[in-house]
């Protein structure tokens, strides 16, 4: 069964401060993601990959088309038309999102950032922090950084904290926008192993990876964004 069914979506940006200039984000994108599989998205820079993911997550409003999602809690939803409150709830409970841009929460320790989703779901502090510690360790974050503020971490360390936070609760759907962008080869490989293990446990994924060999290892199927001349295809 398909967890996600993206049906002919398009996105345009109307920039009023440039007297209504219209920028095309992407046009007529369709694909499905079967439950428990990983879809990779590829395409040249500016072809709209990140924008597609943001439309699914709800950070961008979809201009045309439908995005159908099977929510364990709410059933079949059209994400482009769901109440904001529902989107918020599925973000909290079902959908994880990791971007190429780091989003560190100021003045909260690494361990607290990563354990927060478990605590919000009702876990005890001690158990949540211990699970968070295990995951950070797996990602190669040295123990001495656990209680430090990630705002002071290197790009790669911050990125791994973000990854840990997004996957600690094994989300139903995980959206990844170049999550390994600033990691070295070894760490990238560790991250990929963790993602693949997560998929085996049932998490459905959709991801953008810059390096072709990483994309190939990650993906069960690949959607190529169309450029102006050809149409998007699934392989």
């Amino acid at each position: 069964m398909n967890l996600l069914n993206v049906d002919s979506i398009s996105k345009t940006f109307t920039i009023h401060i440039l007297s209504g200039k219209i920028i095309e984000g992407f046009k007529d994108v369709s694909f499905t993601v079967p439950r428990g599989t990983a879809l990779g998205i590829s395409g040249p820079s500016g072809s709209g990959k990140s924008s597609v993911l943001k439309c699914i997550y709800g950070s961008y409003l979809t201009t045309r088309g439908d995005i159908w999602y099977e929510s364990p809690r709410f059933g079949r939803l059209n994400l482009t038309r769901s109440p904001l409150r529902t989107i918020n709830q599925i973000r909290e409970m079902e959908i994880g999102y990791i971007t190429q841009f780091l989003k560190v929460i100021p003045r909260v320790s690494a361990l607290d950032i990563v354990s927060a989703p478990l605590m919000e779901a009702g876990a005890f502090r001690k158990a949540a922090r211990s699970a968070a510690g295990d995951l950070l360790e797996q990602l190669g974050i040295p123990q001495r950084l656990f209680e430090a503020y990630p705002a002071t971490f290197s790009g790669g360390e911050q990125q791994r904290v973000n990854i840990a936070r997004a996957i600690i609760k094994a989300p139903h759907l995980l959206i990844l926008d170049e999550p390994t962008a600033c990691l070295d080869a070894d760490t990238t490989s560790v991250v990929l192993d963790i993602l693949l293990a997560l998929r085996k446990k049932g998490t459905t994924m959709i991801g953008i990876f810059h390096q072709p060999e990483i994309l190939a290892r990650f993906s069960d199927a690949i959607y190529r964004m169309k450029t102006d001349s050809d149409r998007g295809t699934i392989q």
């Binding site: 940006f13 009023h16 943001k54 709800g58 950070s59 961008y60 409150r85 989107i87 918020n88 100021p106």
Partner: protein, 289 residues
């Protein structure tokens, strides 16, 4: 899920209104009615606030944000409109818990002023940008909190004092400053006392009007952290007004944008900031980048 707070078609017009003030006419530019000269400070405002949710309001100076909060806090009478509050049961030993059962589902704006005051004292907290509005500067910090607790039905003096000390410590004001008046405190400490006071009655609704504007950056950060952790811990439904998009991003999940008294855009906070639709929001987001 039922909203804690629902606002419908709220207007606040200063001056003598004419019928066209209510039209929502696009020709109107600014918040002054071109036909009668009245100021339409809040224009047809409708929204819902859900339990435990933090809702942000942004907008330029004079767009009606403070006026709206004052109406919600019963400090200002709206010209027209409705407001519904859905109460959930709190700890039964809370003073005044019995009193409000009947108000549910009624338009609380039509309560008499005595009922409104009771309502505010028992269920609402407000933090103002200007501590002079939220605190009485000539009575002690503890006295400020005690007064609010007293109005919320607490009568046992020892208990009131104990709770005041607890709240001040919770907001990181040293307990030994309890008997000093806030006039002698720093801006950051005054905001903390305001927060302690606003939270003393365990409100169901917390309103924050530019709670950290005017504080220097490091103090601002600590006050924000405090607000965030208390909001989470007490699971407060909160509305925060700020012109600082960083604060809005940090604290809120949903945001409304106000211009000339109207809500011109509303959405998930990340959507409003990353994919703003209204020209005014685009300008706002661009100006801070």
């Amino acid at each position: 899920m039922t909203p804690v707070l629902s606002v419908r078609n709220l207007f606040r017009i200063f001056g003598t209104a004419c019928s066209r003030c209510f039209d929502g006419n696009d020709e109107i530019c600014g918040n002054k009615c071109p036909w009668c000269g009245a100021i339409v400070a809040c224009k047809n405002i409708s929204f819902d606030l859900y339990p435990e949710e933090v809702l942000g309001i942004v907008g330029e100076s004079g767009s009606g944000k403070s006026t709206l909060l004052k109406i919600l806090y019963f400090e200002e009478e709206p010209t027209s409109g409705e407001m519904f509050i859905h109460l959930t049961k709190r700890n039964a030993c809370f003073p005044g818990e019995a009193f409000m059962g009947s108000v549910d589902a009624a338009n609380v704006l039509s309560l008499n002023s005595y009922q409104k005051r009771l309502f505010r004292n028992h269920y609402m907290g407000m933090v103002y940008q200007n501590p002079f509005l939220g605190l009485r500067m000539h009575i002690s910090a503890g006295g400020n909190i005690a007064e609010k607790l007293f109005m919320a039905g607490f009568r046992n003096i020892a208990k009131i004092r104990e709770r005041a000390i607890y709240l001040l410590e919770k907001t990181e004001v040293p307990g030994n400053r309890l008997d000093e008046s806030p006039a002698s405190f720093s801006g950051g400490m005054q905001q903390r006392v305001q927060i302690a006071k606003a939270l003393s009655n365990v409100p169901m609704l917390l309103f924050l009007d530019e709670p950290t504007t005017g504080l220097d950056l490091s103090v601002q950060a600590r006050v924000l952290d405090l607000i965030k952790s208390l909001q989470k811990e007490m699971r407060l439904a909160t509305i925060v007004v700020s012109h600082d998009l960083g604060i809005i991003r940090h604290l809120t999940t949903r945001t409304m944008v106000m211009k000339d008294g109207e809500i011109v855009e509303a959405g998930l906070t990340d959507q409003v900031l990353e994919d703003p639709q209204h020209p005014f929001t685009q300008l706002l987001v661009c100006s801070t980048l």
